[in-house]
Symmetry: C2
């Protein structure tokens, strides 16, 4: 097998490695160089004789070499001396656009060069780790990973936040094609036909003109879908998956090193692992919000959606931990959610409210992290709700047919993976967790 | 933790499970049902009393139940008797559009219902397994998984086979946006800045009006990129990764069961694992093709590209195993490939031929499975080649800047993962490896 790694032990005394220079020190006759070899460990220090380099070394220059371990002249420490330079390629200081401790807003404009910094290298590494654990935990829960298509033929849920596709060839597809905003509708087909718990992990897209630190036009979307699950078990599953992933991160020494590089205190993550998440109904949430005395920008009202401000109040100030809010009014949620009973809460209002089996997970520092529901599996009711919401059942023929062919209750949730990574790493802008973020006006 | 799996052991004697009915037998007073519980194992047989069901059972109906193991009346075997039906939902036989042993061409038109068949369920399961092993093997080789963007701003390589994106909001992005055809150009940035071996595994898109069994508009693309690698080591790495994945599949009992369900003989896969792949230069390939005496539709000619027919002759009839062909003429390959020497082969022609450090992997039954190269890391030469190929260096500013900022030789390859799955499973149409394939005129 060809060994492609950055650092190879040749024998007890000798190594071969490559990296970029991350610090330069000078001694008579020698350069003391720190070199970033991979992104898993601290930079290594090597000593190189002046005559081994044609010109003085510069920051970020590329070097490939063999080196030998030697005792220091005083015999106290071990030093790594470059034996042979296999390749050296300078980085002209005039080309360096980034500076030490440059604020993230500026670094974000140096999309390529920011990847030379420890911070962004660590984020990429940690992103990959979290992703690995997500797959591992999903499989431990018995979920089969499946693919949903990225090109779809419905302008999902009529939100209008989809990208449309054009080809140079007219009528390339029979219908107008869009980029997916969620794989759920197609995933339900697979979950239903195979009758197994599944999950999707793939990109979703939004043509949404938001420039906030939570919004990106492409992001990874995690979407489990489970047969015969009720709302209580769905919340339990969500909590178990999130705790599972974070626990695995906290048990991983390299991951802890990543948190250290990012100046993120691991104990801040323990709140997700050590305590049970709070669970309240939408109606209870409204009661808490209306009775608190806090003046919100938007007054909370039974029947209306919660704003980000309300969400953050509930999970940050009221409960101080991740909080499930379930049983939202049907009229503010998607058509595919299982319809519950309509009921009157005489403390609040004497109009009855139709609720659905939905659940959002609110998380301190983020607001909504996951949205989920039990799905409406009764064809007749589903068609009625579609009509109420102005959707044409003809656009959902396949989805409706599932409700006529051995239909059964099932449910699932969606989580924006990039936001989840932000949460774990304490990174406060979504454009920092992708090497090449895509956003409105980029 | 909530147990979401299809089959739960309640105690030594009792199980709880759900699935779809896959066969129905009748005995006086009883139904003998086969039920597909998950897709990992053979269907289970259960016995249900007539009075436990309101109506006669039908194929594909959904059933959720608890059952108890009992000795058969003759005491010889163990039987599973349904204790309680928790949920039953019929599939009306009039709605069944698929038939036993329906040819794949017809099944493909029943996109949703084909997922009720063992064959398609097995393909989804095996796809996931192969994907898992791909990640495992990549990590064993020290490659870091990274993301490349799916929305890009260059009509890559000018091929014109890209989808363009439109938003309802005018000038949503600063430039015209397309869907990626390959993550390589952006991946090179990450590999170069981090100076670590990386890989991408994500969807790529093609607006290509081909309707062959090899072409799809969206497919998973595997793209490793390695610093300081030469062509010989790149071939060794490709071979090692492919062998690694297939070996892991062959060592997995569930995977062997999948092959069995698909009537695929596992010994056919041993050719990929047991022998070294062949390696020949492009020039040698042309000599073999011109000397064989076989009449090809397109006459092989030094300087021209190989056709699918040529490729298949080389790997199927001449070598009878996977075959690397390296050192293609520059003029038929991409601009980013490392330029080699131009040379004259006096046996063939007295015109010199400029070659590049490219390598294609040809595989029996498929033709080209992987395309790779060492990348041109010298800015000056890269710009010259771009001009020769009619590309505007302005569109590749970022790519060129990598060649001026500590540039170094590196290389990688791309593999269409869906084709790789076809190869392993012996599935002969790409539309059969995705649950919802996307293709020209679909």
């Amino acid at each position: 097998m060809s060994d492609v790694s950055c650092y190879v032990r040749l024998d007890d005394k000798r190594v071969k490695c490559y990296g970029r220079i991350s610090r330069i020190g000078k001694r008579p006759g020698f350069w003391f160089l720190k070199i970033r070899v991979g992104c898993y460990s601290d930079d290594i220090q090597v000593i190189v004789k002046k005559e081994q380099l044609d010109s003085p070394p510069t920051m970020y220059s590329t070097i490939h070499f063999t080196a030998e371990k030697k005792r220091s002249p005083d015999g106290l420490t071990e030093e790594l001396h470059i034996e042979k330079i296999l390749y050296y390629s300078p980085f002209d200081p005039a080309d360096v656009e980034i500076e030490y401790d440059m604020p993230p807003e500026l670094l974000r404009q140096k999309e390529s060069q920011r990847l030379l910094t420890r911070k962004y290298q660590t984020i990429l590494l940690a992103y990959d780790k979290i992703e690995q654990y997500l797959h591992e935990v999903s499989r431990k829960h018995g979920l089969l990973k499946i693919r949903a298509p990225f090109i779809t033929f419905s302008d999902c849920e009529g939100g209008g936040e989809t990208f449309e596709l054009r080809s140079k060839i007219p009528e390339f597809f029979k219908k107008t094609a869009y980029l997916t905003v969620s794989g759920q509708v197609d995933e339900e087909t697979v979950t239903s036909r195979l009758l197994v718990p599944t999950y999707i992990f793939g990109p979703s897209f939004r043509s949404d003109p938001s420039k906030t630190r939570w919004h990106a036009c492409e992001f990874y979307h995690y979407e489990p879908e489970i047969p015969f699950i009720d709302l209580k078990d769905l919340m339990m599953l969500e909590e178990s998956i999130i705790k599972g992933i974070i626990s695995m991160c906290l048990d991983d020494d390299i991951f802890i090193k990543c948190l250290d590089y990012l100046k993120r205190d691991p104990t801040e993550l323990k709140q997700f692992v050590e305590y049970s998440f709070a669970q309240i109904s939408y109606t209870e949430a409204i009661k808490i919000l209306t009775r608190t005395g806090v003046k919100f920008e938007v007054v909370p009202k039974w029947g209306d959606d919660l704003t980000k401000e309300h969400e953050r109040y509930l999970c940050e100030r009221h409960f101080g931990k991740p909080t499930f809010v379930y049983g939202y009014p049907s009229k503010i949620k998607s058509f595919y959610m299982l319809q519950g009973e309509s009921f009157i809460d005489s403390e609040i209002d004497d109009e009855p409210l139709q609720i659905c089996e939905s659940v959002d997970l609110l998380v301190p520092g983020i607001g909504e992290l996951c949205g989920g529901s039990i799905r409406e599996h009764r064809a007749g009711i589903l068609m009625e709700i579609m009509k109420t919401k102005g959707l044409d059942p003809k656009d959902y023929e396949e989805y409706l047919s599932l409700r006529q062919q051995g239909t059964f209750p099932h449910g699932g949730f969606g989580m924006g993976f990039d936001r989840f990574v932000m949460l774990i790493l304490g990174v406060d802008h979504i454009r920092d967790v992708a090497p090449f973020p895509r956003y409105y006006k980029c």
